[in-house]
Symmetry: C2
Subunit: 360 residues, 2 copies
């Protein structure tokens, strides 16, 4: 790793293994060849296994922001309820409105999760045919209780359940079919630990059927168009072949480690960082909703976070400061994807030897 | 190159040099860092030089199909005239309509270019505030006369001039500012010779100003949002860092070769393939409009193109069959980007030793 490329402990892009980087640099193949369709099928069935779903998977050359747009453009026919627990879920609301879709934001206090009760109360009005939830809000380090939310959603089978799993997918066990998630979307530079530039989503029959009735949704993110090509193991436009190579390689590595081991590793890394955070400072979110993939640390007022971050960078490690209104109050450490416990111990030990120098 | 990765002589993805592949496999940097903004600025100013423009450049994580949508969503307030000379320009019309934009297709016969007269006649009705033109139609091998078209466009300064340069950008000299092109868009897997998965466009003040008035255009392709972040040398969402590395490396290589040499090399390769095509078969398009980056060969009825293509593939070379309705009549050889005259000679010589075996 060159000196100007610090090891990444930010929410994304996350640390990338050499094997993935090698795959990214392979010579491309044509996207209308049999070799491509083989690659496509292998990747799709691998992703289905990781998500425990038989829903179709769309592989999309865009950032997850593009799939936010896809999810609402294809499925909202009436009105969308956007649940907001931080900067990213708030932006999903803004994106929804920017598409000319009727939508209302339902906010909780920063550091709090979206609760099943809140969703139930909102949907009981009968005004909404879709809800958006960000599973893991990286701006606050809060992971909302998806299982409880899903139980409520089972009572509203006609409401499209759209879930941003950007920073939880493949790192946390989520059974898409049991939870009846209509669209689960993510980019690849978080839990998947692939360099940024690609996204994917699972799409249920309900979501696809809605798409037939949705107007003016464009072409690039149209689920019908994506489905038409998916049925022949292709993408509508030329996709990012390097990212497909990376995803293919990563799926091999995931199955080699084993999904259970992978999920356990993420739990252990999260516990380790949380216990460090509580010892030195405190957790920003309620501990029971503290994220499995990223810890948002509420720093003490005497820590000069800017200089602390800069010193870590000089030592070759990049962590994140707080996001938006939390910029001065918090800092964030990511522990997902290809980071191992040894990487976490390495970072914590460097933070330990540095942090006292930056207490004012 | 592994045995299952034939050398690419298809319209895209095109052949990629090892130096670019190396760059694609580098460790990522965070997209909100100073290092990223340096990379961003270097790439943007390099692209501006290649396009001879002072217009802003937007770097977009999507296929060019996404930028088709961006171009029309942001600039058409009244009605769009889509000029159609083949399968790809026809799809741009379909994409325009799919966005709920009023649009009419204006078609020429396959093998013919879009002419300045045709555009003049259409715009003189006063019904349109935007035109779309595909500079180089890879389905027919026709390059439309952009300079003549631009002269007409100078007489319609209020009509947005939207040009798909997907398979001509960086391979053919096009002075965006002299030609007053409002949006010039391309993906990177054609003339730029970078693996697919990324696109870019130049955007004029007229196009940006239109964007302020355009409704329901979404967020991901909103020129206003892209501009806001471009002003701080960033992208709105996490972009494909590998493609930015690739583009950065490619710009270095382009300036090392020199733009004039690069354009001359493309002319020479095109002449060489055209003369081969005329000797063995014939050109599908009018020769004066035959593309500088791809030759569409009208094969003789006695050539079994399917078996010919398969044999070439066994020998490690991938060429393209005809596209759509031209599938049985033509085949296509690309000569752009990082292909050198020696690669062309290599392919032609293999085709020479093979072609007679597949005459029926």
């Amino acid at each position: 790793m060159p000196a100007d490329r610090p090891k990444l402990f930010i929410p994304g892009p996350t640390h990338v293994d050499d094997k993935i980087l090698e795959a990214m640099g392979e010579y491309p193949i044509g996207h209308r060849t049999a070799a491509f369709s083989d690659l496509y099928d292998t990747v799709v069935s691998g992703v289905q296994k990781v998500l425990f779903t038989s829903n179709r998977i769309f592989l999309c050359t865009c950032s997850a922001t593009g799939l936010w747009e896809a999810a609402v453009r294809n499925t909202v026919l009436k009105r969308c309820a956007n649940f907001v627990a931080g900067a990213f879920s708030k932006r999903w609301h803004e994106v929804t409105v920017s598409c000319g879709i009727k939508a209302d934001p339902f906010e909780v206090e920063l550091g709090q999760p979206i609760t099943a009760e809140f969703i139930d109360k909102t949907l009981s009005t009968g005004e909404y045919d879709a809800v958006t939830v960000v599973h893991n809000e990286t701006s606050t380090g809060v992971m909302s209780p998806l299982h409880q939310i899903a139980e409520v959603m089972h009572r509203y089978p006609d409401v499209a359940f759209l879930v941003d799993m950007v920073s939880s997918m493949s790192a946390v066990e989520v059974n898409i079919d049991d939870l009846r998630i209509d669209v689960a979307l993510a980019s690849v530079q978080k839990g998947w630990s692939i360099p940024p530039g690609f996204s994917l989503c699972s799409v249920s029959d309900l979501a696809l059927n809605r798409s037939y009735k949705s107007k003016n949704k464009g072409y690039y993110f149209d689920f019908q168009v994506l489905e038409k090509y998916a049925l022949r193991s292709q993408t509508p436009a030329t996709p990012s072949i390097p990212h497909l190579y990376g995803l293919h390689q990563q799926l091999n590595r995931i199955f080699q480690e084993g999904l259970d081991n992978r999920f356990r590793r993420h739990n252990e890394m999260a516990e380790r960082v949380r216990s460090w955070a509580k010892e030195k400072f405190s957790l920003f979110p309620d501990e029971q909703f503290s994220s499995t993939t990223l810890t948002c640390v509420e720093k003490s007022p005497d820590l000069d976070i800017k200089r602390f971050q800069t010193r870590l960078l000089e030592k070759g490690y990049l962590i994140s400061r707080g996001y938006g209104t939390l910029k001065e109050r918090t800092f964030r450490v990511s522990h997902m994807g290809d980071l191992q416990m040894s990487d976490i111990e390495e970072l914590l030990s460097v933070m330990d030897e540095t942090v006292e120098d930056f207490r004012l």
